[in-house]
Symmetry: C2
Subunit: 151 residues, 2 copies
DNA sequence: GTAACTGCAAAAACTTTGCTGAGTT
DNA sequence: AACTCAGCAAAGTTTTTGCAGTTAC
């Protein structure tokens, strides 16, 4: 946050109410939102902010390294303001993403022989099913037992 | 490949020349192409195949679990036909993705306490700069020394 | 023969761009 | 005062959908 102001000044970028709001709301969001989701969250407090501004701001923040794109299969633009080293669990059903902090995962060793590739960061990604989707799936299969597979 | 035919039969899906070609070309591609790239590679051998068919086929293959979406930040749809357990190095500059096979990475342990999340697979993702982009960057910085930062 | 599939074109979704007036520095 | 930025609308991309004819089963 102060970091954001500092870096902006350093790079000749301006600190506007819109950018401050994007930074704040993204920092408070722990679900790695996409630009549209973030925009919806911003509207209540800044009803005139446009989606284009959200896109541009996220680009600027990413260029400054204050925000990171999260690699989620099938979703191009999801952002994370948490720059601590961390890992992700991703639900394959609902595409939700949660952070995992784990010292053992942080110690994963980079293999040898990557043919000139320079590794800057290592993250572990766990794919599976979140509790909520598992619950839904169970409910559905019970329904099938009771009523027959209803298609 | 035979696997594809078997699974298709099992699920009542049809084996068409288009699908066979998609499966074959994707299996031969080691760069995790997006649908459009794949489509361009298919055209020489199947000039009438449409991009929509490529999209639909990739969906079907992913649903059967014969193909996987690769999580690359900033790129929504990239596919991998390699189902062996493996990991990825991703160049942040050119977005190229290469597979890494490494037994030590395969043994990464899933942490405790994921609150009901069921992990199905674990992959390690290394971000950095590939050899080619590093070479380009070096050349550019030499040029800057000689000519001044040319903007 | 029947149902699923292809290709096409149109629609929807997502992202970027150009411009003008406004606001930060 | 200078120059960047916000908002808007338009353009560009990417992905999905509906449909008529075709083809695998």
């Amino acid at each position: 946050m102060q970091e954001f102001v500092r870096r902006s000044r350093a790079e000749g970028l301006r600190v506007t109410p819109q950018r401050l709001a994007v930074v704040r709301v993204l920092a408070e969001s722990h679900d790695h939102p996409d630009p549209d989701t973030l925009h919806r969250r911003l509207l209540p407090q800044l009803p005139s902010i446009s989606l284009a501004t959200v896109y541009k701001t996220l680009d600027a923040l990413a260029a400054m390294g204050l925000v990171r794109q999260v690699p989620v299969a099938g979703a191009a633009k999801r952002y994370d303001a948490n720059l601590d080293r961390h890992h992700h669990v991703i639900c394959e059903r609902c595409r939700s993403v949660a952070d995992v902090h784990d010292a053992r995962l942080d110690r994963v060793a980079v293999p040898e022989g990557l043919l000139g590739f320079t590794v800057r960061s290592v993250t572990v990604q766990m794919l599976g099913t979140c509790a909520r989707c598992a619950r839904k799936a169970r409910k559905r299969s019970r329904a099938v037992v009771r009523n027959g597979n209803g298609r």
